[in-house]
Structure formats: structure tokens, C-alpha cells
Symmetry: C2
């Protein structure tokens, strides 16, 4: 049966299987969900087996397991290594979800007239890596699988992929391939299909400021001892100057600067600043002086507080002068910043700016390197051709603000440039309440992925 027809004939099952996976709350950041993360790994293994791999296995690590599966059709054929992750972000704040995060529902929206799946992980990354499992099944069923395929689906992407790093270094031979294919990014839109050619890195820190050793009455003590919240705010505020440049000494030393030509090309991507502001209900964008919005998220590093807490946060008023205040602070990095060096720079600087009246603790959470993908490879050309076949349009290369730390790992350890063939949209609300993934994106993605395999084999023969 031709590929497109097979996908259509099996679309209900392809969707149902994904919904089952989305029901498993595999939140890797929260130990309360530990068992569910393991359950998700089992589900992935079973899915690979049912799709037709030669073998599938659960590879234990010091943390959550990596699911590996492979199908070798011909030792002379090129091999595609598919990477994805079955863990998801925490679902908080729960009260902002219109439906429970782990009870997927299909709803139509303005952007998704044919419906979208609403659930935590729908787009990031269960809905996206599962397209590969189904594309593989479809190719195999239609006798069209022209490349060998190796699946490596991990469970710790949302917490830093530390054990994947170890696994990859220890299994270079097993993972040997000609390209890594990843769907964990966005495209501009179904009308403007794009391929991500750059990703930012990440350094994620947690800080704690301690003033007095216990909570105090703000009347009796207010004005005489350092209030750790006030101090933390002052310290955080000082991390940007009046032009929104980051003030950590040495922070920009390794940042790659781009010439006018490169920046002009980048700014040609279709982007409507007015629509961007309307969608987010903001009056103005906000960022580093001297750069456009596309540049700010594409080629410039940032520093954002992801969470802050301290003192009384319940209803009503409590006149406490708290002992502690804390924040989670992350920096998005660009080539050639090294996330470990940046974490060290941050830690040293943050401690240095604390007044002597407080104590400061800095704990690095996790990090990953930024990556740039070349556009002159077999893999990139195969992606372009697949998109041309599926969408009838030339793919637009984009630099994306998010981080997939393992991208740099594959380049360094396996010597493979990953192809970032994502089908999500920026509006999918990944990491937010009401995350969703368009049904059209899901099925168009399955088709495009299968076409990638066809074109990759053709490129390889050249």
C-alpha cells in the first residue's frame, strides 16, 4: 500500500496509540512520578516492537532508562539514528489548564481547524518522536524502508540528559549511523515549513539567599537586618544593565558575532512583530538593545528567572521578614559559549555581588551546549527535499531559541550533524498550561519523515 494511503487507513490507530502514551504522567523533574516515567519507557519499547523493529531494549542508567530499538534492512544502506524523549515537563500551574494535562482531548482552535491534541507532552516530545515510530511502521509495511534505523528515546531530556551523555560515550559503535534525526523543535507554520539550523545552549542555576537564621517580625526587626528577598531582587536586577546586556564579567567573551549579511538573511524569515505582540497581549517586546526579536532569540544569549519564592505567599497579609529567598535562574547560550564555564562565571559573580549581611548558595541544575547545524550535508538536503515533496515549498532555515543539549553531544561524540526536523509551532504552549499539538502537524510530520528516509538514501547513493 502506498505510504500516504497507509497513513490514512491507519490514522485512527496512529492517534489512539499516541493518546495512550500521553496519559502516562512521565514527569522526570518530580520524583513523585518516578514509577510513571518507567511505565512510559515500557510503553515506548512495546510500540517499537509492534512497529516492527528487529530488537528493542530498555537500557538502564543511573537515572531513567533509554529505550533503544533497531531495524537493519541492509548493511550497505545508510543508517538513520532517531532521537527523542518520552519524559515531559511538570504540568504546574495545574489550575491554568482547561482540561487535565494527562487526559488528552482533541479540540479545534483557530490555528488548528482540524483539531489539536491537548496534553502535557503532546508536542514536547511525545507527539513528535512518536511520528518516527509510525513513519517507520508505515515504511516497513509498504516495503519502502530504504535505510537502516536506530531509535534512541530517552527519559531525562527535561532534566539535562546527564545519563544520555554517559550512554552515548559508552555505546559509540552500537549507535554508529550516518545522520541523527530529531523532531523536538518548531517550524514557522504549515504554510512556511522550516528546518532548525541553530539551537541555544542552557545553564540552569538555583540560588538561595539567607539573611537572619529564622523568620522575623518585620516590625520589630525591619530596617535593621538584611531582608533576603529585597537583597535577592537587587542581585537579580543587577544582572542586566540599562540596555538589557548581561553584566556577568566574561559572559559575552565566547559569543559568536555575526556580520550584516548573516543577520540580514536571518531577519528575512517571515515574522510579524505586530502579530507576535497581539498573540501575547503585550504592548512592547523587550530585550537586548541593538538586536531584532529574531536575533534576540536566535543568536543572542539571555538570562531569565524561571521561578522565585520567599516569605509569605498565602492569602492575606503576614508581616514577616523571612530568613530565606530563592530563585531558579537560567541562561540561554549561543555558540561558542561553554555551559560549564558560564555556570562557573555565574556562580562566582553571584556570590561576589552579595552584601556581607547575607549568605548565598548557588547550585547548578543542568546545562547543555548551543549548536549550529550546517546546511550543506546529505541530511539537510534530504530534509529540504522531503519538505518540498510534502509541502510543495522550500524549507526556510531558522535559528531557534530553545535548547536540545544533546545536539552538541552527537556532533562531538558521534561525529554526526543532527537534522532538526520539527513539526511543532511556537504557539503549542510547550512547558506551559494547555500544551497542544496539531493533528495536521502530526500526520504531515509522519509523511515528511518517511520522505526524509527516501531522500536520504538517494543523497547517500550520489
Amino acid at each position: 500500500m502506498p505510504l500516504k494511503q497507509y497513513i490514512e487507513a491507519n490514522s485512527e490507530r496512529f492517534l489512539g496509540e499516541l493518546l495512550e502514551l500521553l496519559k502516562i504522567p512521565s514527569v522526570s523533574a518530580d520524583p513523585a512520578y518516578r514509577k510513571e516515567v518507567f511505565n512510559a519507557a515500557e510503553y515506548v519499547k512495546k510500540s517499537l516492537e509492534e512497529a516492527g523493529v528487529d530488537k528493542a531494549e530498555i537500557c538502564q542508567t543511573a537515572g531513567y532508562p533509554i529505550v533503544y530499538g533497531e531495524k537493519i534492512v541492509d548493511v550497505r544502506a545508510p543508517t538513520v539514528l532517531v532521537y527523542g524523549h518520552y519524559d515531559v515537563q511538570p504540568a504546574d500551574p495545574l489550575e491554568l489548564w482547561d482540561s487535565p494535562p494527562f487526559e488528552p482531548v482533541i479540540k479545534k482552535t483557530g490555528l488548528h481547524p482540524n483539531g489539536a491534541i491537548f496534553a502535557r507532552g503532546a508536542a514536547d516530545d511525545k507527539g513528535q518522536f512518536f511520528m518516527h515510530v509510525k513513519a517507520f511502521e508505515a515504511m516497513l509495511a509498504g516495503g519502502e524502508l530504504s535505510c537502516n534505523v536506530k531509535f534512541m528515546i530517552e527519559g531525562e531530556e527535561e532534566v539535562g540528559s546527564e545519563n544520555l551523555d554517559i550512554f552515548v560515550r559508552a555505546n559509540k559503535e552500537k549507535l554508529a549511523a550516518d545522520v541523527v534525526l530529531i523532531s523536538d523543535t518548531s517550524m514557522i507554520s504549515l504554510e512556511h515549513p522550516s528546518v532548525t539550523v541553530g539551537l541555544r545552549g542552557l545553564a540552569y542555576m538555583q540560588v538561595e539567599v539567607t539573611g537572619p537564621d529564622k523568620d522575623l517580625h518585620s516590625g520589630t526587626f525591619g530596617g535593621s537586618v538584611a531582608n533576603p528577598i529585597n537583597v535577592l531582587c537587587k542581585m537579580i536586577a543587577s544582572l542586566h544593565d540599562e540596555n538589557n546586556h548581561i553584566t556577568i564579567p566574561g559572559f559575552y567573551d565566547q559569543v559568536r558575532e555575526y556580520g550584516k549579511e548573516y543577520r540580514d538573511k536571518l531577519n528575512q524569515a517571515p515574522f510579524d512583530e505586530g502579530e507576535f505582540k497581539r498573540k501575547l497581549d503585550i504592548k512592547e517586546t523587550y530585550g537586548e538593545k541593538g538586536y531584532t526579536t529574531i536575533e534576540r532569540v536566535g543568536i543572542r544569549p539571555t538570562l531569565d528567572v524561571n521561578g522565585i519564592w520567599g516569605g509569605y505567599i498565602g492569602e492575606g497579609a503576614k508581616t514577616v521578614l523571612p530568613s530565606k529567598a530563592s530563585a531558579k535562574i537560567s541562561m540561554r547560550l549561543v555558540p561558542d559559549q561553554d555551559h560549564r564555564s558560564i555556570a562557573r562565571l555565574f556562580e562566582n559573580h553571584f556570590k561576589s555581588i552579595a552584601p556581607p549581611a547575607v549568605k548565598v548558595k548557588v547550585v547548578p541544575h543542568h546545562g547543555g551546549q548551543a549548536a549550529v547545524v550546517p546546511t550543506d550535508s546529505h541530511g539537510y538536503r534530504a530534509a529540504e527535499a522531503a519538505i518540498m515533496d510534502a509541502f510543495g515549498k522550500k524549507a526556510i532555515p531558522t535559528r531557534e531559541g530553545g535548547s536540545i543539549p544533546i545536539t552538541a553531544l552527537f556532533q562531538k561524540v558521534l561525529g554526526l550533524d543532527p537534522i532538526l526536523l520539527g513539526f511543532g509551532l511556537d504557539t503549542d504552549a510547550i512547558h506551559s498550561p494547555n500544551e497542544h499539538y496539531g493533528l495536521d502537524n502530526y500526520f504531515k510530520g509522519i509523511e515528511t519523515i518517511a520522505l526524509f528516509f527516501k531522500h536520504f538514501q538517494l543523497q547517500h547513493k550520489k
Copy 2:
């Protein structure tokens, strides 16, 4: 039976009755405890009746009720109006309590070799106002009650006493008295008994900063839109300058400045800065340049963040760029700052410093005026004499950092200078985990209060 003997003979019961009251979680700030606040009012009414008042009543208000009770011994005798509050602060953070906040236990400590009662409200203010009920019982039983007494015990002190304000204005005749006696402050120590002669006012605000209308992925959007946490930190940081002066325009306009003589006298109070730092485990004190610690909490206004929250505050890492960040911010005020004017100044200023990329909401919570108590009144002299009798020492007049907003109300509406005869210690951890109140403070307080009545009647006759 002589007073002291009666107190000793009944000490176990005097303690047991307080412990029962402390078991009622009458948290006025949290609607979840609504029923318990009413239960506490009932308990107070019953206690007054059992102690021997002519009549006791629960006076309903738009919020929590005011318990009123009176005993008229002689229409020609002077009348003492006793004020206190039966509501308590929230007990959070619960995990920092060594024993449950509403299951009082007696434990010995270094400062309290004879034991202290550990419970929310032990010192603020259940343990303190209850001394008056027991002193009254003791005087009555011994035939020594020489003044008329009126009790007014409210349930909204910790949330701003809004309905007390209305009640006092509407019941001037009923509340007519010659002095207001309040035990809701600290003394320096049992070795250095003191009387509070100044209190700071309060303006308590809640602020909310909104960036994008939903939580976003900090990778995809970081650097292009205003992060409300970063912005809130910047705004809060800007509220103090490098000398820790508050930067709100007009904030200091009404602050009373004191001459060298007054400040010198204030600084003569026994205070050991080294011990202060050791007790709080801090390397340095921290506050407004140009003032001592005693001045900073006594005669200078302050601005403290009492709580802050935004973004992801759970375990692990979540790369969210949140939609909102919030803070509770309170200002301690001094004469002659008006808390309503200050709240307006704050609101206007805070909105004016917000960048156009965010929206800001400011909600005033509650406030109260600062107060100064004259030291040449019958009441103050009676307090001095009572302390001399009970402690064998001259009372030290102190300016305290906390606020009892109703102090100014009594001065203005009833024309009465309150006597702030508190027996707590700064180390009692009021508004904090492990709040406690010394048994010696409790029983010595009962004795001193009874002596106050004796001396007030003598002063009155002069």
C-alpha cells in the same frame, strides 16, 4: 487572699486555660480558619464571664466579632479599657515548627529556664491579653479591684483592625475610660523591664506584574519579551538607593526628625549589637545609612518585601518564562507619615517605574498610623510604679518597630493615650515558626498588671 498568693495558688489553672485558647487556630488572614476564629471569640467571652465581669458580649461586625466585657466597681473610680486580640498570624511555614503550632507544649530554653509555651499566638497576643483576664480575676477574688474595667478583645488585629475602627467610632460612650491598657509589645528583658512609648505605622501592599498573557517556553521566547520576575526584581530593587534610603518621591516628607539629644537618649537603651548579630547568625546588620540599629527600628520608616512568588517553584528545573510575578510589600511608618498617603505614593510610584512591556496591579492590603505615647501621664506613671513594685527596677521607655494601628485610633477617637505594657521578648518569634512565651513573663505580667490598677487608682486620686 493577697494577690501574689492567689496567682501562685491558681497558677496551674491560669496556664491550662491559656493552653486551651492556644489550641484554637484562629488565623484571621486565612478564610479556611473562619469557624475557628469565631470559636476563639466564644472562648474569650466565656473566660471573661468566669473571671467575674458584670456582663460580656460578642459584638458582631462585618468581619470577625469584638468581645466586650465590663465590671463597674464604683462610678467614681477611674476606668481602665483593656485592649487585646484573639486572632493570630498564619503558622506557615509549618515544616519549620518543632511542634505543631496549635498543640501548645512547654519547653525550657536558655532564655526561659523555667519554661516557655510554644504555640502560634503564645506571645502575640493570646498569652498577653489573657494575663489581663487573669489579673482581673485575681484582683476581684482578693477584693483589690480598685478601678472599673472594660475589656475589648478583637479578632482582626493581624489583618488590619478595619472593623474595630468602625466599632470604636460607633461606641464612644460605651468605651469611655481614663486609660487604654495594652499588652501586645515586648520588653527588653525581665532584667531590663521597659514600656513602649512609640510604635511604627504600616502600609501593606500587594503587587502583580504581568508580562505575556500566558506562561511561555524560556528558550523559544527568552530574550524577546519582558520576563515579569526579572522586571519585578528590578522594580523592587529600585525602591532603595545605595544608602538604603527609600526612593519613593515624597516618602520622607512627613517623617519627624529628631535632634541629637533625643537620639542620644534613645541610644542609651541597653543593646548589644554583637549579641544581636550572634542571635540571628548574621555577619552584619543592614539598614539606612546614618542611623543606629535602635534608630532604624524605632524612628525610621522601612520598606520590606514580606513575600514574593512567580514561575516554577517546585523541585527540579522548568524552563518557563512566566506570565506573572507577585510580591507582598510593606512599609513601616513613623510619625507623622499618614498610611493612606503613603499607600497612594507607593501605588503611583510603583506604576510609574514599570516598563511599557508589562502591566502592573497594586492592591493596598491594610495600614495603620504610627504612634507616640507621652511619658507624663497618670497612666505612664502608674506603669512605672507597677514595674518598680514587681521588678524592683525603673522602667526604660522604648520605641518599638512593630505596629499596633489601633493605638492611633484610640488617641484620635477616644482621646486616650494607650499604655503599652508588654511582657513579650524580641526573641519570642512572633509571626515566625516556634513562637513562644515565657512562663515567667506570663505570671510576672499578671502580677504587674494588677499592680498597674492599684497605682492607676492612686495616681487618679492625686
